[in-house]
Amino acid sequence: SDFKGSYSMEESVHWKVVKKFLGLVSVHNIPLYLIDPLVLGRMNENSHHEESTGSGLNCKYLCAPREFTTFALLDKFWKNEKDAEEEGFQWMELSGKDPRLAGMDGLSGTEIPLHYIFKLQNHAIHLVVFYERSGNFLWHGQLRLKQNADKKFVHFRKLHFGRYPGAYNRPELHLASIDGLEIRVPKEIANFLEEVSHSRFVECRYKEARTFYQVYPEDTSQDAMEFKKKAKDLLHQAAKILNRQEVPFWLSSGTCLGWFRQCNIIPYSKDVDLGILIKDYKVDIITAFQQAGLPLKHKFGKEDDSLELSFQSTGVKLDVFFFYEEDDYMWNGGTQVKTGKKFKYIFPKFALCWTEFLELKVRVPCKTLPYVEANYGKNWEIPVTSWDWKSSPANVQENGIWPLGDWDEVIQIH
């Protein structure tokens, strides 16, 4: 290891503050766990080298002079600020709106605590409050300073969590001994760190969706209900399959528009659309769907050009579009069965964010508006029931014709 464990615990403010803080929370039985990317990163590096150095005197993780240590607090209210105060901590609570009430119904409740910061000498404990959300995931809020807040309380910009809201799987925890302190940490540290880097969460635009439904009232006919139910079930099923395959996917086309515009399935859309990066493609995807009882309906294109898969569920089709990345844009392809014509759908480059949709944690393009506008034009807000995938999209381009000899491979209908 190139790390020099030359810091002494006795002299490290960092270590002492963490120790004091952990002592405080253990008295009140508050279940915290460590999520500090730097400490966890160091632990992750070291776990590759040796299991344990054995020497208890060596301070490897919590003694380096650092400004913050970050912990997670699960869905519980911190009610012991006064005790922390007595121990000499200065503290700050940052609260915000409860996103679980921010649905379509115009509810508002008491604000909930999102972040706590406990400061002692020149070290601060950043406590991120995680809440359980529909879709079996944990959510933390954005850290926002209110008008009258002390903006210099700590270097807020340097905090590892809170720049954006985040979504995480509920981690399995275990108790680790870190520099002589018993601390709970995520069991799969590498997985957790990977999650941290892709954790950004965006909320559905409920307010706009409400306005949309005022103009275009919800279709509550039996058919519409049934389609929405089936589409939701299919989406849940597809998410389960792809998550198990560890294939990242996002809501695309009509399903993405439905989420973005009305926080719901568009009842006349007739299918569920997902996007996957072509680099994440593997043949196992097809077999996994088939094994789950979703037969392949058609396969258009091939791995290096315009790949598109469709699976058949009862009454609803699942379309999986594979996206190809170019220097300054992304695209996916389409194929017309009769003519062998190819089409290309161009999108501006996008990053992926988590969102909650139909009690599911799924990804969407973070900047959804340019994505939706590329696909549906500036008038995406107006429902269009007759749609032709070859001419209606705003971003469609003709892309030549498949050579006749390839047709058997690139136009498969089952």
Partner: protein, 650 residues
């Protein structure tokens, strides 16, 4: 809360002087000969303008009345809390105006109207306003219709609950003396009123006093004759504000008392909660339940603007064994302050909901929003307990649910578990350990399965423009799909609400007052395992085989129909030609004084209840499958519905 604006509807009171001034001007002009012509034209023009102005005024008033009615129905009589707009700190004296007349009352504090009621046929009686003596804020606003009986008792109760030192303002609208009995009069006299004891028919009266202290003013005008009202009176006075310390109690410094202090400085009328010497508890710490299966089940309390009801409800809820306050969320329909104050007093979570639609549809939308939010807040929950603000909760409510909740998971043929037995009256419910399966959905304290809500109810919940009752909709065959609910023989909730949508005093007295509520803690329920679909049939057949057939030649409405025994099982057969024929049942329900407004509590054409401490099975014949057990000689009882004319005479 930050979106709430104090007193959004109140407009500063402006005396309508302009009209009389114009009339005077008109007369002056007509007195001058030289300008008679001009005057005639002018007068005509003026008349025209007056007519237009008046028509507009009438239209506006009508619209205001219409709007007021819509709100009133659901909001109940207790008006929204309003706070004097201008901050009164820094000022030591409050200017008070109190006006009393036949058709209008108003109260202004420092120029801000805190009460104004000129709606016709409404707000009759004595209006009472309570001000905080240190801040001048309105802490309570009530109207007691003391023209009607018993309202004076409610007023006594209320006045006794107000803390000493508060400023009380009284004013009469229309009539306030007819049922103002001596006890109430002497209480008012005790407060310092010179007039109260002689207050009589259609007198106008205003009175401002510090409770247990100085009288700031009193004005009165006698009604000259039976058919006329006393002249309007306007009392103008000043009230010296006292220092904040004098207005506060010195309770021990605990979290609970901090909440108490906040509450007591804002609202009044909650009695000993705010007593300085011996305040009523706001934390109850009932015994925990062993092996509590519902500890993590969220509890949604659906509320409107009936803060006193909510207060009573939450007290009983928080006193029930096995309650988990962390899981309780109170959903308030509207941005009302006082219900939220009550929620915060108990340290619970409250959620406010922007009202959607009107009347029944508004309640229905509020239910939907609340249920959706409940499952959002607790994504792991498989169930939710749904309560309303006008229910008392039995001490073993959670114990009852803990013992039965697994049935909802085990048995697909179940729709809900409800704490309420529609037919469980004092004289028809007996066995606190007994449960039934019923084809109706009683509501009033029940458990909803998440999958039922998410997969079936939420997606097709009636939209706001359909003015449907949510509970009627949930009961419809399209939703219930033949599934049943589990209910106890003796209810675990009690419906005490008298004021509300679909509810009035008469209705409550007839159908709810004599409902039985279990008061025994930790009741061990006895037949839980025999409540699943098939097991229940076995149980019923066993019961029927043990049951003694009653003498069908006797009148079932007579007391001697049931022998004077205890602990026996009896069975009777009534006529029921097909599944929907409830002619005889309805008549029987009427004479037994149980729920007869629609059919409740049936299971396959059979009803179970208690009479004189005996279990009674009522089987509809030949529709019910159990009628095959009827001895051939027994002729099913038939009760005739009342003749049609009787109904039409109303």
């Amino acid at each position: 809360m930050d979106e709430w604006k104090p007193n959004p509807r109140a407009k500063p009171f402006v005396p309508r002087r302009h009209r009389s001034w114009l009339i005077a001007w008109k007369y002056r002009l007509t007195g001058q000969r030289s300008v008679r012509r001009l005057c005639q034209t002018g007068a005509l023009l003026f008349l025209l303008v007056t007519v237009i102005v008046n028509i507009k005024l009438i239209l506006d008033t009508r619209r205001a009345v219409a709007e007021e009615e819509l709100v009133q129905d659901y909001d109940n009589i207790i008006p929204n809390m309003e706070t004097a707009r201008r901050p009164s700190h820094g000022r030591k004296v409050l200017d008070i105006e109190v006006y009393s007349s036949r058709s209008k009352v108003y109260v202004a504090v420092d120029g801000t109207t805190v009460l104004e009621d000129e709606v016709k046929e409404q707000g009759r009686g004595i209006h009472v306003i309570v001000l905080n003596q240190a801040t001048g804020h309105v802490m309570a606003k009530r109207v007691f219709d003391t023209y009607s009986p018993h309202e004076d008792e409610a007023m006594i109760l209320f006045l006794n609950m107000v803390s000493r030192g508060r400023i009380l303002l009284f004013t009469i609208k229309d009539e306030g003396s007819f049922h103002l009995k001596d006890t109430a009069k002497s209480l008012l006299k005790g407060l310092g009123s010179q007039i109260a004891s002689s207050l009589s028919w259609r007198d106008m009266w205003t009175f401002v006093v510090k409770k247990g202290g100085q009288v700031y003013g009193e004005k009165h005008s006698k009604s000259p004759a039976l058919a006329t009202w006393g002249d309007p009176v306007l009392l103008k006075t000043e009230v010296q504000l006292s220092s904040a310390e004098d207005a506060e109690c010195h309770w021990a410094h605990t979290d609970a008392n901090w909440r108490r202090k906040t509450f007591c400085s804002k609202v009044e009328g909650y009695g000993s909660i705010c007593s300085c010497k011996d305040p009523a508890p706001i934390e109850f710490n009932p015994d925990p339940l062993k092996d509590n299966k519902v500890y993590e089940v969220p509890v949604a309390v659906i509320a409107g603007n009936r803060p006193n009801y909510l207060y009573r409800m939450l007290r009983s809820l928080l006193s029930a064994q096995g309650v988990n306050p962390e899981m309780i969320v109170v959903f308030i329909d509207g941005y009302y302050e006082e219900p939220m104050d009550v929620v915060e007093l108990f340290g619970l979570k409250g959620v406010q909901h922007t009202p959607i639609s009107i009347k029944n549809a508004r309640v229905s939308q509020h239910y939907k929003a609340s249920l959706t939010a409940t499952f959002n807040l607790h994504p792991d929950a498989k169930f939710a307990v749904v309560l309303e603000e006008d229910l008392d909760i039995s001490v073993d409510f959670f114990s009852f649910l803990s013992q039965t909740i697994h049935l909802l998971e085990d048995d697909e043929s179940l729709y809900c578990i409800s704490a309420w037995n529609d037919q469980g009256y004092e004289h028809t419910a007996e066995d606190i350990t007994l449960l039934y399966r019923v084809e109706s959905m009683p509501g009033l304290g029940w458990v909803l399965k998440k999958s039922l809500y998410k997969d079936e109810l939420e997606p097709k919940w009636p939209t706001p423009e359909k003015l449907w009752d949510w509970d009627m909709w949930v009961r419809m065959p399209e939703q219930r799909k033949g599934r049943e609910c589990i209910i106890p023989d003796v209810s675990r909730s009690y419906h005490f609400g008298i004021v509300g949508l679909n509810m009035n005093g008469y209705f409550h007295e007839a159908y709810f007052k004599k409902h039985k509520l279990n008061t025994v803690p930790n009741v061990q329920l006895k037949n839980v395992d025999s409540l699943t679909k098939d097991a229940y049939e076995t149980e019923i057949h066993k019961l029927i085989s043990e049951a003694k057939v009653l003498d069908h030649s006797k009148n079932p409405c007579e007391d001697n129909f049931i022998p004077d025994t205890e602990g026996k099982i009896y069975i009777m057969y009534i006529r029921m030609e097909q599944e929907a024929d409830f002619t005889t049942w309805t008549q029987l329900a009427k004479c037994l004084h149980i729920w007869d407004l629609d059919v409740r509590g049936n299971h396959k054409g059979m009803w179970r209840l208690f009479r004189k401490k005996n279990h009674l099975l009522v089987v509809g014949t030949p529709s019910s499958p159990y009628s095959s057990k009827k001895p051939a000689t027994v002729i099913p009882i038939y009760l005739e519905p009342p003749p049609k004319e009787d109904v039409e005479l109303n």
